[in-house]
């Protein structure tokens, strides 16, 4: 499936009204949309992303060491969104994940991140990113 469908779902959940479960799930879906797009693109760049819980940090770390400012910024924002997603999923007594505008922000943010990530596959950016992540990967 296309991970961007998660964004469509997140938008629909937000539009359905201020139901707390919807809002929390929208943040979750927004995160996973951006994460999977990031993972897919790194895969197309020939990097292996583990298929387990370590995938989250791996994608973030690779993006943050891509050598391209806009892509590295996506890496930072993706880990921020992960933290928001964790709160939304697990901290049910915390009302912050139920703020409508915050959740709208998360969804819009994820769309912006996806748009940035999609630019990674065009040359010459693609080659630069490939080189930077490879160099970083060999050093770690």
């Amino acid at each position: 499936m296309d991970p961007k469908d998660f964004i469509t779902l997140a938008e629909r959940l937000v539009c359905e009204g201020q139901k707390n479960a919807n809002l929390r799930t929208a943040t979750n879906r927004a995160y996973f949309a951006a994460h999977h797009v990031g993972s897919e693109i790194l895969g197309k760049l020939t990097f292996k992303i583990p298929r387990n819980q370590h995938a989250h940090q791996e994608v973030v770390d690779m993006l943050q060491n891509s050598g391209e400012e806009d892509v590295e910024a996506v890496g930072v924002q993706l880990q921020d969104l992960y933290a928001a997603r964790r709160r939304a999923d697990y901290e049910l007594k915390d009302g912050r994940p139920e703020q409508l505008n915050t959740v709208r922000g998360h969804v819009t943010q994820a769309k912006k991140m996806i748009a940035s990530l999609e630019g990674c596959l065009t040359e010459p950016k693609r080659s630069r990113i490939l080189g930077s992540i490879r160099a970083w990967d060999q050093q770690r």
């Binding site: 819980q53 370590h54 989250h56 940090q57 973030v60 770390d61 943050q64 060491n65 400012e69 590295e72 910024a73 930072v76 924002q77 880990q79 921020d80 992960y82 933290a83 928001a84 964790r86 709160r87 697990y90 912050r96 703020q99 505008n101 915050t102 709208r104 922000g105 819009t108 943010q109 912006k112």
Partner: protein
């Protein structure tokens, strides 16, 4: 560590000002309404004198109203900054002891304002040395049950072991995590950057978070902002780019930002 100091004596051992303040505050459990003499004696700047003239002789409620109406009260800030900035620690100690200043809530509020103002305007390079946030935050928090200017959070009630970075009080858990991972200076930079990046007057929050899914942990800074979503996201983008310059990878894995748009 606790030192015993008799009122009216000069401390003979080096002390953190905050320790003295807290110690002294503990000795004066009843908050006097206004102990004006030390303010009068020390009020050697125009700004502070003007503010003092306004509050002199007024009831507690009126004074509070004046501060509320004036907000941060730049004249007070300017005055008290001028007053405290050049003052050596020992003189500050002596002034407090001699005048039996009971840390009334207006003073603690004012000094807190100074500390926060400094932290915000000098990017963590505390103009008044590290002693003033100690006075301000620990002293103010000691009387946390009193109201504070502009509705600042006054729920904290255990000031004695509060750690503070760039004006933000840290829980023990956050403080320990920051120290263990060498994040203290990065946190100061982050707090100041968040204040500069987002149009928010709300105090920052910082929490330790552990993720059971990935077994990872980090510190989450939360900023509460009001405004249009697109505007906030633009501020967030600008923040992110500056954050990457200030906090290198992998340290930046351990500091995360959450915005709450209200």
């Amino acid at each position: 560590m606790e030192h015993i100091i008799e009122p009216g004596t000069t401390p003979s051992i080096p002390l953190q000002t905050s320790e003295l303040i807290v110690h002294y505050a503990k000795r004066v459990p009843s908050v006097q309404p206004e102990n004006e003499s030390w303010l009068l004696n020390s009020a050697d700047t125009t700004g502070w004198c003007q503010t003092f003239e306004k509050i002199k002789g007024q009831s507690t409620e009126t004074i509070e109203t004046i501060f509320l109406e004036e907000g941060t009260s730049m004249s007070s800030l300017t005055g008290i900054l001028s007053l405290l900035r050049p003052m050596p620690k020992d003189k500050l100690f002596q002034m407090i002891i001699d005048t039996a200043m009971p840390l009334n809530r207006h003073m603690t509020t004012l000094i807190t304002e100074v500390a926060l103002h400094n932290a915000m305007t000098s990017r963590g390079e505390i103009l008044l040395t590290e002693t003033v946030p100690g006075i301000a935050l620990k002293g103010a928090l000691y009387f946390a049950e009193t109201s504070t200017v502009r509705g600042r959070d006054s729920r904290v009630n255990t000031p004695l072991d509060i750690d503070v970075i760039a004006g933000v009080p840290l829980s023990d858990e956050v403080s320990d995590f920051a120290s263990i991972h060498g994040l203290r200076s990065y946190l100061a930079d982050t707090f100041n950057l968040v204040r500069r990046s987002f149009s928010s007057a709300n105090p920052l929050q910082i929490e330790y978070e552990h993720d059971d899914e990935t077994e990872r942990e980090w510190l989450a800074v939360t900023v509460r902002v009001s405004g249009k979503i697109d505007g906030v996201l633009e501020q967030y983008d600008a923040y992110t780019r500056q954050f990457m310059r200030l906090v290198p990878w992998p340290a930046r894995r351990l500091i995360r930002l959450n915005y709450d748009i209200v």
